[in-house]
């Protein structure tokens, strides 16, 4: 997949222009921080990797922290209505959600 390169400044300021791979990388980094695992291990996550309800350490408080960190680092706002099971169940669901939110701006 090819994307138009954007400067890091533009990414940081507007959240626009983030490619799927950039969002993927940032989201894996956030999950690695929450789970206390190496970035390399998080890299092995696939769209089917189970999250909430599959990883015992990922309880509601940890998920809440993860979402707050996503808001800060991806420059998005997550509403109550966004919190459905599908979005939190797998890595792929969370990634799609993050992409949608960034596009919505």
């Amino acid at each position: 997949m090819s994307t138009t390169p954007v400067s890091s400044k533009a990414i940081g300021q507007s959240g626009l222009g983030k490619s799927r791979s950039e969002i993927d990388r940032e989201l894996k980094a956030i999950i690695a921080d929450v789970l206390g695992i190496d970035a390399d291990d998080a890299d092995a996550f696939t769209p089917d990797t189970g999250l909430f309800g599959h990883l015992p350490e990922l309880d509601s408080m940890a998920v809440a922290g993860l979402l707050t960190e996503m808001e800060d680092r991806l420059d998005i706002v997550i509403e109550d209505d966004d919190l459905d099971g599908e979005m939190l169940e797998t890595y792929g669901g969370l990634l799609t959600f993050a992409e949608t939110k960034i596009i919505e701006g």
Binding site: M61, V63, D80, L83
Partner: protein, 227 residues
Amino acid sequence: MIGTWQAPQSDGTISEELLVSFDAECEHRILILPAWFDEANKLRRLTVEVMRRLEGAEIDSFLPDLPGCNESTAPLEQQTLPGWRLAAEAAAQRFQATHVLTIRAGALVAPAPLPGWRYAQQTGAKLLRGMIRARIIAAREDGREETSDKLMDTGRSEGLTLAGWPIGAEMFRELEHAETIASETRQEIAQSDLGGSGLWLRAEPDFDAKQADALAALVTERLRAEA
């Protein structure tokens, strides 16, 4: 060393609370005001490890429980921010603190005159938002529907138990608007200054010796520069 201290409460009574201290009657004496609620557990080891490192640098430090926190037998739901500020000020006087190091929301109750450091400070609103979100997620898992707006209303009028922490209505209303005031004598320490990710983010309590080294080094360096 582990002991106790006499914490004053808003109603005029005294509550005996746990105190972890490293006191060798050194010139520099730091009051530590730790993170709150769930974050308190996740950052406890980092906090105490920083104190050990400060001891090695001949800096005294004092980590008092505030009423309702940690091992306290005082009911958390009866605590208020002014009550915690009162206790923090009393602790500063009792231990003759020369500086204060606050961690996360601990910054919200730091005694005004003391110089020091604020590590990864957090506003009350953000603290509540995270805990409310956790409650909504847990409720959905149980098949119940809760909303932020309704929970906020309940919290303001009756108080609310969030992630297992019973927060009284008064504390809840105070937290909504609680922010730290910019201070020329308190240095901000961001997570990026320590390296790695904030340990409060971790799903399980964890520890990172490098972060404890970095935080203690920042404190020590500034005290040496002041001397």
